[in-house]
């Protein structure tokens, strides 16, 4: 291959560039991204960056020296509009075309929005650096009452950051027990309890039915979130954290199979051997068992596998996810590894859940450890994870 184009400039795209060079690829390497900013790391956007503890430089994925070392041509601030595999081209929204031999699809996803929030000031999603800047600016203006819609990781992290800034926070989640489908009821309960312990008003089972707005000179602005029971929760700032939708529209007509993500085999290779997909946009694995991993660690693990297979021209390596996920809430590190089911039995192996510091393992019906969860104790989590879960070395 003489030219490889990576479409998408977040961690999956950047790790792909690094993996391709590490694997010996010395041809032309381009990275195209619709975000106008230099590639940056998203996890801090809901934590330290939102709080103001770190700046753009601290979350940069690549500096000038690294871009030069990778011999990476970057086309930022322009969206990929179409993939033409037969013609060997990626067409960009500015009308230009990149002739390419190989393509890495790393277009990620965009934050899902709620109906009725279009054009309403004060309603935010949090996915990009610009999103985080805009939210940060509003959080710092006076002492806004914050309502977070969605009690998943992003919502919980935003709530935690807002509480640390001294703001009143309400979290609305439709489930009777947020996080339970992912973490199981017992671990979810311990996570959810952190909200109340830190003064966040969590309202589980809350159905958002609409938004109350007030007219301003600049158009409507949110003043409350309306619930299905007819009540309204007053709000100056609303953050909607209800997941992402994969960015696959640009692949329409390309011939690639798309079904809630770009369909790949176990090695991140699409129907076309010269096109691989990585990160949040990739739906890997066979048929109905295929799934997307919207996780930072998976993006890097997938990039190494995809790069190897793209250069080989066929699937030689397969993706074996560690399932590692972390979150930081109310000064505590939450860590999960493996692939537990919500129905698995939970054993606390160290610490005190009620003290907010413990490590537990998930055990399935056959007695096999399927996952390890830790709260507030990275050291013990790491040791239990290694002893309980067979873990290959992290892909470089």
């Amino acid at each position: 291959m003489q030219t490889i184009t990576i479409v998408g400039g977040s961690v999956a795209g950047v790790r792909s560039a690094e993996a391709l060079r590490a694997a010996g690829y010395d041809g032309r390497l381009l990275l195209v991204g619709d975000d106008p900013h230099r590639p940056y790391d998203r996890p801090p956007l809901s934590k330290a960056f939102l709080a103001g503890g770190v700046d753009e430089d601290a979350i940069a994925l690549l500096d000038d020296v690294e871009v030069a070392e990778l011999a990476l041509e970057m086309r930022l601030g322009v969206r990929a509009a179409r993939l033409d595999p037969a013609g060997g081209a990626v067409e960009l929204a500015d009308g230009s075309t990149i002739a390419t031999d190989g393509v890495v699809v790393a277009t990620g996803g965009r934050a899902r929005r709620l109906p009725g929030t279009e054009g309403v000031a004060g309603v935010h999603t949090l996915r990009t650096l610009d999103d985080a800047r805009a939210l940060r600016a509003e959080l710092r203006a006076g002492s806004p009452r914050v309502v977070v819609v969605g009690g998943g990781f992003i919502g919980a992290e935003v709530a935690s950051t807002c509480r640390a800034m001294g703001l009143d926070v309400t979290v609305l989640d439709g489930l009777p027990l947020p996080m339970a489908p992912v973490l199981g009821p017992r671990i979810a309960r311990h996570c959810v309890d952190l909200h109340a312990e830190h003064g966040t008003d969590l309202r589980p089972g809350a159905a958002v039915s609409g938004f109350a707005t007030a007219p301003t000179a600049d158009g409507p602005r949110v003043v409350g979130v309306e619930l299905g029971d007819g009540t309204t929760v007053p709000a100056d700032v609303v953050v909607v954290g209800i997941g992402i939708a994969p960015n696959t529209e640009w692949l329409d007509g390309s011939g690639l199979a798309v079904a809630n993500g770009v369909v790949t085999d176990a090695g991140m290779v699409t129907d076309l051997p010269a096109v691989v997909a990585v990160g949040d946009v990739a739906r890997w694995g066979p048929g109905a068992a295929g799934r997307r991993h919207e996780h930072w660690t998976s993006a890097g693990e997938q990039a190494a596998v995809a790069a190897a297979n793209l250069l080989a021209g066929r699937t030689e390596a397969t993706f074996r996810p560690t399932g590692y996920v972390w979150s930081e809430q109310y000064g505590r590190m939450l860590q999960l590894a493996g692939h537990p089911s919500a129905e698995d039995h939970v054993d606390v192996v160290d610490g005190e859940p009620d003290a907010g510091r413990f490590v537990a393992r998930y055990v399935d019906a056959e007695g096999t450890t399927t996952g390890v969860f830790g709260m507030g104790d990275p050291r013990t989590f790491g040791r239990v994870r290694r002893s309980e879960l067979r873990r290959r070395a992290a892909a470089a």
């Binding site: 790790r15 690094e18 590490a22 790391d41 996890p43 801090p44 330290a48 500096d63 020296v65 690294e66 930072w296 660690t297 890097g300 590692y324 972390w326 590190m333 860590q335 990275p378 050291r379 989590f381 790491g382 040791r383 290694r386 992290a394 470089a396």
Partner: protein, 111 residues
């Protein structure tokens, strides 16, 4: 010199954290003692909580690996080295001598 503790209290494969001008982690890697800055250069995490493998420690949060001898990261997500510090053992007592900051990578690039 910063007093770390008794050698017998830092078994092979273990680490302790002491406070210099910043937190410093001291490791016992197969009988050799090493000291590096405790805070991962990627994102805030304590390397003394990390996993020791040979002469490298893996950050407990995002798996950045640092060479205990040089402080250099082996690859993403960390880019910048941690400082290394001299460790001495005197009569069974362990001490660390904190180094002045050397941006080893910057120097290497300047060469």
């Amino acid at each position: 010199m910063i007093y770390v503790g008794e050698l017998a209290d830092i078994p092979v494969g273990e680490s302790v954290r002491v406070q210099g001008s910043v937190a410093i982690a001291v490791f016992n890697a197969d009988g050799e003692l090493y000291a590096i800055d405790d805070t991962c250069t990627h994102q805030d995490a304590s390397l003394s909580d990390g996993w020791l493998e040979g002469c490298a420690v893996e950050c407990p949060l995002h798996a950045a690996c640092f060479d205990l001898r040089t402080g250099q990261p082996s690859g993403p997500p960390a880019k910048k080295p941690v400082r290394t510090h001299r460790v001495t053992v005197d009569d069974g007592l362990v001490y660390v001598e904190e180094t002045v900051r050397v941006e080893a990578r910057e120097l290497a690039r300047a060469e």
